[in-house]
Structure formats: C-alpha cells, structure tokens
Subunit: 328 residues, 2 copies
C-alpha cells in the first residue's frame, strides 16, 4: 500500500491522513488488528478457518457515470457490490481495501466523497476499511474494492451444488435497476446467513449479470481451478407468473416498449440472491420465518437449458444474454 | 467477482475461462480452497491467526507505460510490488486477486499477456491467483492487485517500532530504477523472513517512494487507525559513504547531471527493504549469515529529522521529497 501519514498540502498524503481518520470508525472490529498506515493491514484470521475473498473494479462510464451519479454513489456501490459477493456465499463480511485512480480535477475532494459513500454500508455490514491505494491520473475514475469475509460454521454456499428437483428461489423483485437502484445495492448478507442456518442451501449466486444469465452460471458451474470437481449439466423450468417483477422494471418497460417480465429476466445488477434448495426446506423456512423475502420461481431440472412456462401454458427457451463487460 | 465459465467468443467469459485454466498452476497451494469461478474465492485461514492484506493499483502512464513496457511487464510489476508489501511486514505471501480495466483494443490478448506476466513471480513466491474481475472500457489500462499473506510465528514487523540507537539497514543498492529495474521488483520476502527469524527487527518498510521518503515514513509512523498507539518523533543520522549506490543510479546521473548519491537517496521503486534493528543484532546476523544483503547506512536518533554526514565531515539535513502520486 502507498498510504502514509505525512501530510503534503492537498496531496496524496493529505488525503490518506484524512481517510485514515475517517475510516477509523469502521475499523473498530475484532477482525481489524491494524488499519491504514503500514505496508499491509493486519487482520485476525477467522476462527472458522475459511476466508472469503472477492474483488470488483467499478469504472466511470461502465458501472456508474461520475458526472451524473456523483462520487458518493460510486463509493457506495463499490462497497455494496463487493458485500453482495460475500452474501452470495452465505458469508459474513470482515474487511475491505480500496484502490482508486482519481481524475486530476478536484482530486482531494473527489477522494473524500468516494470514501464518504463507503462509510454507511461499511458500518452497517461490519466491513472494516483497513487499507488502500490512491493515485491521480489523466484517465477516468476507476475504483477497485477487495473484500474479505468469513464463512459461518455452516460453511460457504457455492454455485455448484444445485440438484434436479431443487426449488429455484430469488430474494426480491427483479428488473429495471438501471433507473437508479443499481447504485444502492442492498446486499442480502443477513438473509443469506439466516437461510443457511435454517436449511442446506445447495447453490447460490448474486444477480449481477441478469437473473437468467446468473441462473445460467449457477447451472453451468461444475468445475473450478482449485478443486477440479465435476458434475453434469443442469437446467431449470421457470414459471412466468412467479417471477417477481420490480416496479422499476414496469417503469423502464414503459420507456423501452419491452415487457416488464423481459426486464425482470434479463436486466443486470439487482444484487438479489438466486438460490437452489430442497422444496421441503423452502416450505419449512417459510413456516418458521415468514418475514424472509423468498420468491419461488421454478425448479432445477436434469435437462439442460432454461425454459419459461408462460401463463397460456406454452413454454419458451430462454437464452442467457446477460451483461458481457467487454461489449456494450 | 464477475468471472464465470460461460464462453462467449472473444468476450469477457472467454478470457475468464482462459485465465482460470492458466492460473490453476499457481493455485495448487494448501491455502487455496477454491479459486476462480464462484462469487468469492475461499482460502484456508492461516494457522498463525494473523492475516496480511495489501492493495496496489498500477496505472498506464503512472507506474508503467503500456506502449513502451508491454502488458507482461505491467502484470509482473503489479504482482511483485504487492509481494514486496508482504515482505515489508516479514510475512509470507499466500494468494492474490486481480482486477483489471482493459482498453478496448485487443482486449483479449492484452488480458492474456498481463496474466502471463504475473505467473512467474506468483509461482516463485507461492502466490495463488484465486480471483479477479475484468472489464473493457475506453480508459487506459488500470490494474489492481490485492495480496493476502500470513505472518510467521514471529509476528508482523511494523513501521512503528524503531528506537534511538538502532542501526538503519537497507537490503540492496539504491537509485535509478526508472531505467527499467522498477518493472522487475525482486521482493525481499525470504531475506525479510530470514532476518526476522534471527533477530527482532524493530521496524521495516519497503522502498517505493524513495529511500529518504520511506525512512521518513518509518520515523514518523506513530499511530494508526486501528490501534491508536502513540510514540514520540524520531530522526536518523546517515553516512553518505555508506549509502549503497546502484549502477543504475550512476548511469542515470550521467544523463541527469545530478549526483549518483542523490538518485540513491531520493529515487523511488527500489523495492528494497529499509529496517531498524539493534546494532548488536546486526553484527550477529552478519556473522551467522554473511550471504544476507545488509547495508548499514546510519542510525536512528531521538532528534527528529534526517541528517546526512558527508565525507568531508559536514552534515546536511535531508528533506524527504519522495514521490507524491498526486503530482508529477
């Protein structure tokens, strides 16, 4: 890390000193042994012995529009999107480090405002902001957050465990987040942990590329670089009438001329969770905790592909055409 | 993380699949329980219970020049510079995640080459590449690496522990890294651990902003956001004749007209370590392991400021004017 406490008026070290003071509130957690001010932060390793790590880079013009949304929104989204990745494993967030490339204009105040946007979600989800790196450059704002979390005693929920016959469930209404909701993700950390305490969640993913695309990732998840596990392909049968459609999807549909359902199925950055579990477990969770937001949308099938049963009884194959960050 | 295994010809998911296969070799370590392909990577938390975290963002035009140095050099430097932060705490690297904003031109091959540059240092220092995030955009290349490490049984060496009378030591010749050496850092991981096994290193920092500037950081390190510890200011007395001057500093001096010593004192990105320890410990370490590269350059003083004793017996006060990433 490049953060040092030596002030230089309006310079990098000034900003770092300001940030170090501002984030102190977030770092009053048992996990944070040493925050900003040395070559590394020091964290107490989780007693559960399994650590979760995820990184996201948010870019001006791709994930937010600085001139329209403002730096606070960029900071908030960067932290919250990373927290959502921890939620998708049914983990508990611990700490984060932030690296930022700042445009040369108003560098100092820009850095401050980005950080301000991070504080509220960091405090609310127990994320100690323990380190970072700041540089000014001639390029647009780039904001990279790496989050660390720990698994609960129940272990991590991966994408790979779905089984034929599982219920497919989402944790909230979908679609139209581009109208502004995508800047204020509500990571489903506590919902995921609560679900995972009550039952064996077979597979889970957060909805960022779009519900159908992310369900596709979950169905296709079968191997990874470390464990090299393997399982056969899966599919899913969805009920059109069951897909929870966000009001934003309806508002957006009025502008685009597409169906609200289409937005719910394919829009990105809902930051809700999509999970697969035994239908009997779903029923018992609902009985035990009716307040948990759980929308049953269909079931896992042994037949590859994602199919949508429409209200008129016909079935259509859905193509996962989620967001490819190389194209837009 | 946004990495998924679903291939889209030449798209984001193609690159991610390629990367996941390519980094598998680095992830065959006990620490890496789950690599690329889920919402988070999963690491086995270190038995020592203390985890080191550091992040650096490297930017085209600031930390490398893509058109001149090439993407492999950018990738290599990004990993090695992060490893150096772990070395500065006398820690052992474990794993890293990489977030990259790729220019739209030749996105796929650019991503591949950056990753290729990371493999060799990752393998050599035991860094499992376990996750990442890739996005194409209209901006220049931005490359963010977050590294995780663990402390040895001896614990972390911080910046804060220097004492009056300590010997100030650097691990190699300094200056002129801008001629090319800054792209190929040789992190002093094994040297730092070896030193720390043999003696109590009071304080340590890696030289990135410039030797005098980083020694300044070490002297001024007195508080941090987490622990809130406090200690009085320190200074240092350096011997001009003892400063190890790199051949690159002499070559650069021939171009700049400045003294080679000036480059050794103030140039950045040497990625050597600067440490403070008891002089008696320095003597015993040297006797026990003459191969360790240790250059005694002066001593810690209770009087604030950094002073240089010149060969003619006069003394000059040194101003830490290291690299401020907001100015250039």
């Amino acid at each position: 890390m490049s953060e040092h406490a030596r002030p230089t008026a309006g310079g990098e070290f000034d900003l770092i000193a300001w940030i170090a003071a501002r984030v102190a509130e977030t770092a009053r957690t048992p996990a944070a042994l040493l925050g900003i001010g040395d070559d590394c932060a020091i964290l107490r390793a989780p007693a559960s012995r399994a650590l979760l790590v995820s990184t996201d880079m948010l870019l001006d013009g791709r994930h937010f529009v600085l001139g329209r949304d403002g730096p606070e929104a960029a900071g908030r989204k960067a932290i919250a999107a990373n927290i959502s990745d921890i939620a998708a494993m049914a983990g508990l967030p611990l700490a984060a480090v932030v690296a930022v490339a700042l445009p040369r204009q108003d560098t100092f105040s820009l850095g401050q405002k980005i950080l301000e946007g991070m504080i509220e979600p960091a405090l609310r989800f127990g994320v100690a902001l323990v380190g970072g790196d700041t540089t000014a450059w001639d390029g647009p704002l780039a904001l990279s957050v790496t989050i660390l979390g720990e698994t609960t005693a129940r272990g991590a929920v991966r994408r790979t465990g779905a089984r034929p016959g599982d219920a497919v469930v989402v944790t909230g209404p979908l679609g139209g987040s581009i109208l502004g909701r995508h800047l204020r993700p509500e990571p489903r950390v506590f919902e995921a942990i609560s679900l995972h305490q009550r039952a064996d969640i077979h597979a889970m993913i957060d909805i960022t590329d779009g519900f159908v695309a992310d369900l596709g990732h979950l169905l296709e998840a079968r191997s990874d670089a470390v464990a090299g596990t393997s399982r056969g392909p899966l599919g899913a049968d969805l009920d059109a009438s069951r897909i929870p459609i966000h009001d934003d999807a309806r508002r957006l549909a009025a502008q685009t001329g597409r169906a609200p359902l289409n937005h719910a199925l394919h829009d990105g950055e809902d930051f809700e969770l999509c999970l697969a579990l035994d239908p009997a477990d779903l029923a018992s969770i609902r009985a035990a905790d009716p307040a948990l937001p759980l929308f049953y949308v269909g079931e896992i099938s042994g037949e590859p592909g994602i199919r949508l049963r429409r209200d008129d009884g016909t079935t259509v194959a859905l193509e996962p055409h989620g967001f490819d960050h190389f194209k837009f």
